[in-house]
Amino acid sequence: MDAIVVLLAAPLAGAFLSIAAPRLAVVASALVCVVAFVAIGLLGAEMLELGPAIVVPGNWGVPLGIGLEADGKAVAFLAMTALVMAGVITAASVEFAPGSGRRSFGFWPLALLLWAAMNAMILSRDLFNLYVGLELLTLVAVGLVALSGKADALAAALRYMIFALIGSLLYLLGVVMIYGAHGMLDMGLLSARTPAPADGLALALMTAGLAAKTALFPFHVWLPPAHAGAPAPASALLSGLVPKASFLIALRLWSEAMPDIVRPEALVLIALLGAVAVFHGGLLALRQVRLKLIIVYSTVAQLGYLFLIFPLAGGEGAAQPWSAGAWSGVTFHAVSHALAKAAMFLAAGLYMRAVGSDELGAIRGLARSMPMTTFAFGLAALTLMGLPPSGAFTGKYMMITAALASGQWWWGVVLLGGGLLSALYLYRPLEALFDGEGPAEIIRPRRREELAPLFLAAAAILLGIFSAVPFDLIYVGRPDAAVTGL
């Protein structure tokens, strides 16, 4: 209960501290990490016993006050955020060592604010509060994109910002309409509302806005330049975490707040966009010659998978036995993608620093001089390909099973085909890394910089090997129907 408040407050406090005393930024971040892990642990333990935890700060009562609720998915996402943060903080403590200029001054507060915004969005059940979180997240993310101060990065940040602002406004418009129709904004309450004629349009507006922020095809065009232009630790946060938050809101809207007004065709439409994203992103990744661009297009593709959950566990399907598998599957997928993607960006950053470029031609043969980083990169690639024993495989396994069980085998084909395509585009950097002896002189990364991606990638793998552990947790507070499972 208090853990929820701590999870919101600690990163914020850390952010303020790192502005007030920049020299202590790393220490503050590390402290936040420790606090967050403890809080998540306590929260998880509590939830396993008592079910979803709800807290309303200020004791205002829900219609007026803002509800915060931690269910299984939320804890999984909180843990994902904390893990990625821990990894990125470790790596960034070298690249953005305090006192090494404007960029490092900017990074720490932004990163911690991002954490706070993530946690807020994961825990919040109030539509307007979510809007605020969404905006905060966007602004922080834009700041991270612009961190390098180069013209390209600034242009990318602006493009991102325009998309995100349009998205926010569409979302806000939807929120306004909901409030206009029902006079309430809490998701839990909304699920029990009497449907109004405007609900459809409101949901549509919010969905379109969230899709723009999640970089769902065809609104993904802002993502590649933005994520590729940021410094590697920032990219790790941007690609691994940020889109997950808006996805989570969209998912909650469709499955928890207003599942009653959704027709199956709408679910299919969303999933179709996801499917196109999987292939479009994958094919574009295949065309890239820069490592970071390959990784970001892979993000475009991987985000597409998430949206396949809609027809598998949404709408009427939510009442079916297979939806439980789909729920857990998508959570696994999101979490392991975040871990692997962050690991991959951190590794890419090390390569880039080592040889001064991230072109495939330049990183040739680095496997020999940077074996640990390459190992981490390989493990992360494994996860993104969805191969066992990674967590992504568990996710994929459950989603495909759900697809087949529900008779919608074509989504299974998308999942498998996307996996193959990802193998195809991730193979190119892997092959380059192993090609020949590599340059003799490189800028060596520090040991803890190398350990950070390895830690993240290993976490993604361990998630697959010990996937039974988080399962009970994820199940807490699923939508009612999805209680029985495969």
């Binding site: 020999r368 066992p388 396994y397 099973t401 193959l420 192993f434 090609d435 020949g436 090997i465 495969l486």
Partner: protein
């Protein structure tokens, strides 16, 4: 003990693998000790298990990964056949590899993945459920890739690319087959027959085809065999392991599992999919041999020979008569012993005499007698010359073919024998009967290379000579099939 023994066996190669990754390059002694020690411990544990399974004991270790996703290790007699082979050959290959890589770079990486590969093979052998099998199957693919590209040159990278280009779509096919099946029947355990009646025959046929496509890539069934010859760019110990124990065998073993334990021999027959599979296997046997004839590189010739020989196993299983299955399963071991001998020797010829092409073999018999004798034994066994191991498999396969009414398979066996002779005998002729080139040189100074080759050659003679013994691979295969047919 009965719960943890399978896990211990798995860990006996997994732990050395993981530890090896973090060893510094120069820690030769520690690394070698770790790997050899792991191999010995594993051999010991497997012996314990062999004895008790022979007496009818069962082992079961399972761990839930997710609802419906259970990692189950339930070694049965068939598992043990494959495990014993892999453990034994792993031990020998480790000795060989230590000698082979002496003074070469990237040893920690190599031995790490090498052990991981064996861990995957062992896990695959012990898998008690379909999904466990798949997980280890994939792990095997992934652990093998770094071995294939170990030399990090253009050829090996191309080989790695081709390898994955075949392996990954195959695993996708496999996964879809497994999930399709399990989405209807629930998790499938090898020990209990799955309720396949819930699916219609057409679906079952498609699923079977998907299974065969998925496993067939590893087993080198045509037209999915293209990666095998290319993967020859790998170092010799890898080729040896790939061809004799790990990858190729995993495919054949998988087909055996699917046919015997998932579908059941009766259902395979009822669905009418056994004969097409047998025909495919036969075509592979012949085509592989013909392609082998065209090769002038020793390793490539051996690779195509593998394509051909592994399909004997598939043929045996597909023919689905008791004798044929015994022959197929026994060949699983027999081919392993013979092929690893050949690859060991090919590696010695390449390393110690600089010979990679067939022409280079001229007269090496007198310069490198031990290697040449071992090579000759392996080759003759492959041809099916009695009393070597290959002969025994062939007899059982032949009788089995007749028993299941597929007399045509006899013609395939006959033609394949002739073709095998056609591509192996010229090699032996060169070794022993042609004068060596003026600059030919070679020495067998490294016992670490020669002794494993001689031992496996002796083993492939021994298992043929004492095939009648209940402890021979043939005896063990008979036990498996007896248990299957007379439950």
């Amino acid at each position: 003990m009965s719960v943890y023994l399978p896990l211990l066996i798995l860990l006996s190669s997994l732990v050395p693998a993981l530890l090896t990754f973090f060893l510094p390059e120069r820690a030769h002694g520690l690394r070698n000790g770790l790997n050899l020690g792991g191999a010995l411990i594993k051999l010991g544990l497997i012996t314990v298990m062999l004895v008790s399974v022979g007496r009818g004991a069962t082992y079961d270790f399972s761990m839930q990964l997710a609802p419906g996703l259970v990692l189950a290790l339930r070694p049965d007699a068939l598992s043990l056949l494959f495990m014993t082979l892999s453990a034994l050959l792993w031990f020998l290959t480790t000795i060989y590899a230590i000698a082979y890589f002496e003074g070469k770079p990237n040893q920690s990486r190599f031995f790490g993945f090498f052990s991981l590969c064996v861990a995957a093979t062992t896990g695959l052998a012990m898998s008690g459920s379909l999904i466990t099998f798949f997980i280890f199957f994939e792990l095997l693919t992934l652990a093998t890739w770094p071995l294939v590209i170990h030399q990090q040159n253009r050829a090996s990278l191309a080989a790695g690319r081709v390898y994955l280009a075949y392996a990954l779509p195959a695993s996708a096919a496999l996964l879809i087959a497994i999930l399709w099946l399990e989405s209807v029947t629930g998790p499938i355990l090898f020990s209990t027959p799955a309720p396949l009646d819930r699916l219609d025959d057409t679906s079952l046929r498609i699923i079977f085809a998907l299974f065969i496509a998925g496993m067939g890539v590893k087993a080198g069934l045509i037209p999915l065999h293209g990666w095998l010859p290319v993967a020859m760019a790998a170092p010799a110990p890898v080729s040896a392991l790939l061809h004799a124990v790990a990858v190729v065998k995993a495919g054949a073993f998988g087909i055996a599992r699917i046919t015997i334990d998932v579908f059941g021999i009766d259902r395979v027959e009822a669905l009418g999919v056994g004969t097409p599979l047998a025909v495919l296997a036969s075509a592979t046997i012949l085509w592989g041999s013909i392609r082998a004839l065209q090769q002038d590189e020793i390793k490539k010739r051996l690779a195509f020979s593998t394509v051909s020989q592994v399909s004997y196993i598939v043929l045996g299983v597909a023919l689905a008569g008791p004798f044929a299955v015994i022959g197929g399963l026994a060949h699983l071991v027999h081919q392993g012993l013979m092929k690893i001998t050949l690859f060991f020797c090919a590696g010695i010829f390449a390393e110690r005499a600089g010979v990679k092409k067939i022409e280079g073999l001229n007269g090496l018999g007198r310069i490198m007698p031990w290697t040449s004798v071992a090579f000759s034994l392996g080759a003759l066994g492959m041809i099916g010359l009695p009393p070597l191991a290959g002969f025994v498999s062939k007899v059982y396969l032949g009788v089995g073919a007749l028993q299941s009414g597929s007399a045509w398979a006899l013609a395939v066996l006959a033609a394949s024998t002739l073709l095998n002779a056609a591509y192996f005998l010229p090699l032996l002729y060169r070794l022993w009967y042609l004068p060596p080139a003026p600059d030919a040189a070679g020495d067998e100074g490294k016992p670490g290379l020669v002794v494993p080759a001689v031992l496996t050659a002796a083993a492939s003679l021994g298992v043929g000579l004492f095939a009648g013994s209940p402890y021979s691979p043939l005896g063990w295969a008979t036990l498996i099939v007896t248990r299957e047919y007379l439950p």
